[in-house]
Each structure stands twice: as structure tokens, then as C-alpha cells.
Assembly symmetry: C3
Homo-oligomer: 300 residues x 3
Amino acid sequence: MPAPSARPDRPDRPNTDLRTSELRADAIGAESISANDVGGVLAALRERAPLVHCLTNVVVAQWTANLLLAVGASPIMVDNPHEAAPMAAAADAVLVNLGTPSDETVAAMLLAVAAATSAATPWVLDPVGAGALSWRTRTAERLLAPTTPDRSAPTILRGNASEILALAGGAGGKGVDATHSPEAALPAAIALAREHGCVVAISGEVDHLTDGERVVRVANGHPLLTRVTGVGCALGALMAACCAVTPDALLAAVTATATLTVAAETAANASAGPGSFAVALLDALAAIEPDGLVDRVRLA
Amino acid sequence: MPAPSARPDRPDRPNTDLRTSELRADAIGAESISANDVGGVLAALRERAPLVHCLTNVVVAQWTANLLLAVGASPIMVDNPHEAAPMAAAADAVLVNLGTPSDETVAAMLLAVAAATSAATPWVLDPVGAGALSWRTRTAERLLAPTTPDRSAPTILRGNASEILALAGGAGGKGVDATHSPEAALPAAIALAREHGCVVAISGEVDHLTDGERVVRVANGHPLLTRVTGVGCALGALMAACCAVTPDALLAAVTATATLTVAAETAANASAGPGSFAVALLDALAAIEPDGLVDRVRLA
Amino acid sequence: MPAPSARPDRPDRPNTDLRTSELRADAIGAESISANDVGGVLAALRERAPLVHCLTNVVVAQWTANLLLAVGASPIMVDNPHEAAPMAAAADAVLVNLGTPSDETVAAMLLAVAAATSAATPWVLDPVGAGALSWRTRTAERLLAPTTPDRSAPTILRGNASEILALAGGAGGKGVDATHSPEAALPAAIALAREHGCVVAISGEVDHLTDGERVVRVANGHPLLTRVTGVGCALGALMAACCAVTPDALLAAVTATATLTVAAETAANASAGPGSFAVALLDALAAIEPDGLVDRVRLA
């Protein structure tokens, strides 16, 4: 799996002079990602069933594994320091999620990222709660901007608006809930994408995603997504799965977002509340076909 | 958030001469909590969406978060020693649940309780398995009756009859299942409530709750509640959420119990077994309205 | 609870000269286990509600507990070193599952096995991921073939074909998914059963189970079982529960397998995908009766 093309450039273009206040989203060239591209990545995911090594939090581990299985990927949850490196080296993609970090799991995360870097395996960082808690923010920063050459920046950084703003130097949110809109965080996301040579995905009512050059908005979804814990966390895992089947990390992030949010619309129609919605979401993810995704995804 | 009025008195009234054998439940003045009061707390919970910091066990963490989200609260699960104190200080209420304790999470719990004490934030202790395992019993006792001034007793102590009896010096139960009736544990609960200046809630077929002066029984519920893991654990989290919106901790505990058990009756009608019941319970908790709760709760 | 009769013989019959290549499955005497026997064990499980101490992984802990509760057993999840030994000593059966091991939980597992050995309590080993990761493989080997007299071999070793082959000295699999068929792993299973004096159960499209003399195949099940995380892990817990109510460990393993896979057939008929299947599986496990199991199980 080739690393995203932007990554090798990162050390040579720190862009530390970029500040979110200096950027305007509409100034960015919106090189197109089409609905057909998105459908193609979902088809590839189904065909290849990539092995996704998840170092995630204890709250959402089962949900994440079930969501990956439903959509057709192959999850494996390993977060001890003995096994994190060999597992990451063997996986097709790696997810690092900071939902319930401990000294031991953070050590495993650092080892997994080093192994993924060495193997040129894509990895996704989900900095849950960054900005709200200082130890976690520092841990997220350490993972996002590695100070040692054995670790690369993530292929995709995925969070809500508050987390993205916090990592760009802005103010944090209340707990893990976003208190800012994705639109408000887009300049920060673009700056982070350029600084670290990664894709940045901001979830919200309309998801905003950027690789620092292109900006894609995905306007699917349903309010019930906010009433089930771990949907964002599982989205990060799905982004990792998509990274394993396309070298275009922005397309991977968009496909994961589109697949999850289009399936959520199907699930909401079959639900009486957040409990049945979560169940129906897994069913919808198993049933969604590339053609249906192409028809229903709303990209902007 | 004001601390429950009983708490400041605790150091001045150890009441160590109180023994459960000397108490008669029917001798306690039953100052009334009305169904309307209960409906009012649920309305306030929906309006304020309190942030509930949960230090809970790995078995029920997802379920607890989903249940709080369903009912309208805002859960955050943080149980590492680096973050437990700042998270508790920022939260509207704290849950400490001993379901799967480790040295690290117990350290985090002690830090969280100290931070909650300092911020006068209400906190709930759920001593899962107390009486059945000696290390856990000692840990529960350490949290219930702090020996250092930086930590207060819990606002609410919530358990089954066996756990409450064990903490009052009686015999423990089989694993985490109650082998005693709530009625049999009521004198012990009253004694504990007086000794520690807290509310004590005993779950069972009829839930019994007391602040040492008032006794309230909630007679809603369904046998399927015993076939789903973590219902009691999630009830503790819901009590914490209610504590964040009323200074009357007994009313908070009663509201949480009533909301969960009335919703369980709705869910049981829509279920084919324990799997679909758990799903329907989340739907019912999202749908239950204060008026419906007032109509259906059975207080005694 | 009597230990399986084969266990006391283990030290006297190391059979280290047995190699999988020397065995032919059809050469083994197939002493019969009947459908009626299986129904009898399910009836006993329902009547006695055995306490099953689970040291399992964080991904499937809730699911495992809910599955045991649904079928009528009494789960307790304790995996810290302070409490593992007393809990195992008090339980009717113990499950050790290596899905997400850490130094701390492995220490707890070793203590639990020693306590189970001392109390002659049956225990089940599920070596999740053995063969795929070297630390885990060594841990599984250490649990399977204890080098100190305080720990016995497991009553049942349960895994997929790749895990069983790996523990018998063969090649490992890709992550936690089986890449070999149960039939191909049967000679290895028979060799392991003889070497360690335990039952070996291989899950797959047709489950293969052996105590080294008898071989039983269970041909029930549904492909959706592979789309839900932790079904195999929960099967190990159900085997432990069955071990608590019959001294014939092969019959226990067969009953657990039959109960789960027959219930899966019921659940698949009521499902729209993997999400609703998992929910329906719990409902079906609560509803299945011994008579229905006897009628529907397909043993060979």
C-alpha cells in the first residue's frame, strides 16, 4: 500500500507560517472527487476485505469491530505494547483512537505508528477529546507531529470541529462533543493538512474534508448519529479500511464518510429511536451497494 | 452544582452506634416525593443535558454511554489517572462504578472523587460485587468512607441488596447478583445513609431508596431487566445525571430509577427476548416524556 | 464440580511422540454423543444457572455477558490480579480468552487457572489470535501446557482451525480469522487433545470437536455468525457454562456449539443483516428449549 503522495513532502514543507486566520476555504482549488470514485472505493473494500488494526477505546471497541465486519472489512483489535508493532506491520491499515488512553495503550500506539511508518501502511488518527483535556491534547499532538523520524504523521486526521480547532491551536470543546461547526473549523483543517501533509476530516451535520488543496463536503447523515456512542470513532476505522484500497487518502476519507452517512439515512427510516437505529445502521452498512451509494451521496 | 445538604454534616455525625438491627424502616418519616417532582427532574435533565463523567467497567461502558445519550444526557468515559481529576472537575456529575477495577482505574477514581469533592460536584458510587470479593469490598469501603478530608462520601450509594448489606457489615452475595431482597436490606441502607450522609438506593423487584429520613419505593420494572448486563450500572450513571439537575439527591435517585423502570415496561411490550429488549429500552428512554413518566411511575 | 475424567491422567501420558501427520481422523473410535444428551445438558444449564468467571477481552465482554445471561447462565467478568484467584475458586467454571491480553490480565489468568486447578473447577482456553502474533502464541502455549504443577491444562481448548494448527506446531492465520478448514485441523486437534488430556473444539462452517478418542461434528450454523464480532469468544464462555453441569467435557463443548448454532439458524430467519442478527441471536438463545435443540441439532 503506497503512502499518500503528500506524505513524503512533509519534512520539506513545514509551512509553520500558515495560520488558520490567513486561510479562506473558498480560495482552495476544489479538484473534484466524484460520486463514481466513491462507489469504486466501496467496491474495492468489499472485494479486498482489508485487515484493519484498531487501537481504539474500550467504549466503542465492539461497535467498531461490528461496523467494520458489517461493511465488509476485517477488524483486529490489538493495543498492548507486546503486539502493537507486529500487528500494525501485518495490517492493511491502522486506526489510532484516543478515546480512553492509558500509559500502556499510548505506548502501544506509538509502536504501532512506527511499524506502520516503516511498512508504509496508512494510518488514521482520531484525537477524541483533544482540547478538553491537556494530557490527551499533548498525546494527540505527539502523534500528529512526530518529533522522531521513525514515525510519520497520520494519513488522515479525523475529528469533530472542536478537536480539529484544538490541534490547530484554537480553543477546545466540552468533553467529546463538538461545540463548533465544521465550516468554522475548515480553515484550521486546511492549515493542519498542509502542515502535516495529511487529510483532515471534520465530522458534523455536513462533514468537511480536505487534503490542504481540495475540499469536499458530504451532506448526508441523520441527527440520530449523535445519539449513538462511537459513530465518529467507527468512522475513523472505516476511513482506515478505505485507505487500504486507494492511495488517495482524501477519496478514502470521503468514501468512508459517505458510506456511513448514507447508510444512516437508510437506518433512520427503519428505526424507532437510537437503540434500533444502531442495529439498523449495521444492517444498512452490510446491504449498501456501490451503485446505491453513487446515487445517494451528496458531495459538494 | 450544590452538594446535597446532608453532606456537610457528615463529619459531625458519624453515628457509628447505628446498627441495622436497631432500625425499623417503618419508623422513618416518609416525607413525600411526588410523581410530579420526578417528572420535573426528567424535564430538567432533557433541558440541560448534563455532562456525566463515568469511571465505569469495561463490560458496560458502551451500554452506559448509549443509555445516557438516549435519555438526553452527555456521557464522557475517562478513567486514567492523568485525566480523571480535570475531567471530574469539569463535569456536572461523576459516576464511580467498581465493576472491573484495576490498580490504575482505582487510582483514577480516587483522584476523580477528590476533584468532585473540591468542586462540590455530586458523585455516585456503585460498589459492584462488594461483599463477594475482599479487595473490591475494601475499595468500596475506602470510597464510601473516606479517611482523608479531600474526598467526600458519595452523594448516592447505589447497589443491590447484597452489596448494600455487605457495606453495612452484613454477608455478601453470589457474584454480582443479589441474593437478598431490597426490603431485607432497607435497615442497612438507612444506617448507611445516616452514617455517610448520602442517599442509598437498593435495586430489585421493587427498588428501595432512602436518605436516612425518607424512604421511597419504586414498583415499576420488568424481569427482563435481569437478563441484560449493566442495567444496574447504567442506572447509577443515570442517577449521576439526575444529581446534576436537582440538589435533592433522593429525588435524583428516584427519578433515575423511575425513568429506567417505566421505560423498561414499554420496552418489554416491544420485545421478543433479552436482545430486542435492550434495544427497545434505549428507544423507550429516548421517547419517554415527563408527563408519561408522571402518569406511570408507581411510588410508595 | 468434578474435573473431566481425562485430566488426572495428563501428567502420566504426555504422548509427546504424537504428531498430527501420524493421525487419521477416521481411525478414531466415534463413541456416540446423542442429541438427547445435548438436550439434557441444556436443561441442566437452565436449572442450575452456573456462575461462569470470564477473563475475556474488552471487545466482547458485554456481548459475552449478555449471551450467557440470555441462555440462562450467570456471568461474572473479573480480570484483575487481586481478585482473579478468589473469583475462580468461587465460580462453577472459568473462561480464559486471549483476545486483548495485557501483562496485567495475563497475570490474572494464570492466577485464575491455578485457583481453578486447586478447586478442580473446569476451565476453557480460547487462544484468540494464536499463531498470528508471537507473544500471544507463547502465552497460549504457557496456558495450554503448564510447566508448574499448580496449573492444569484446560478442560476445553476452543479456537478456529488456524489457532488450533498454530498450537499444534502448524502455521498461523491472518489475524483472528480462520484461513484453514476445521477438517484440515482435525488431526492437529486430536493430537492436542491426547497430549494435554483436554477436549479440543474447532469452530467453522461445520464445527469439529474431539477428546482425542471421540470426534463429533456439529453441522448447524449460518454465515451471519462470521459477521458479528465475538461469537466464537462467547461460544467459549458457553462451553465453560456447560462444563459446570456435566463431567463429560466433550458433551459440554458439543452442547454449547449446538445451542449457539441452532439458535443462529432461528436468528438468521428473523434478521435483515448482521446488526439485527446479533440481537435476534440473544432472543433465540433465551427461547431455545431442550426439546427443540434435540430436534434440530445435526451431529455427525
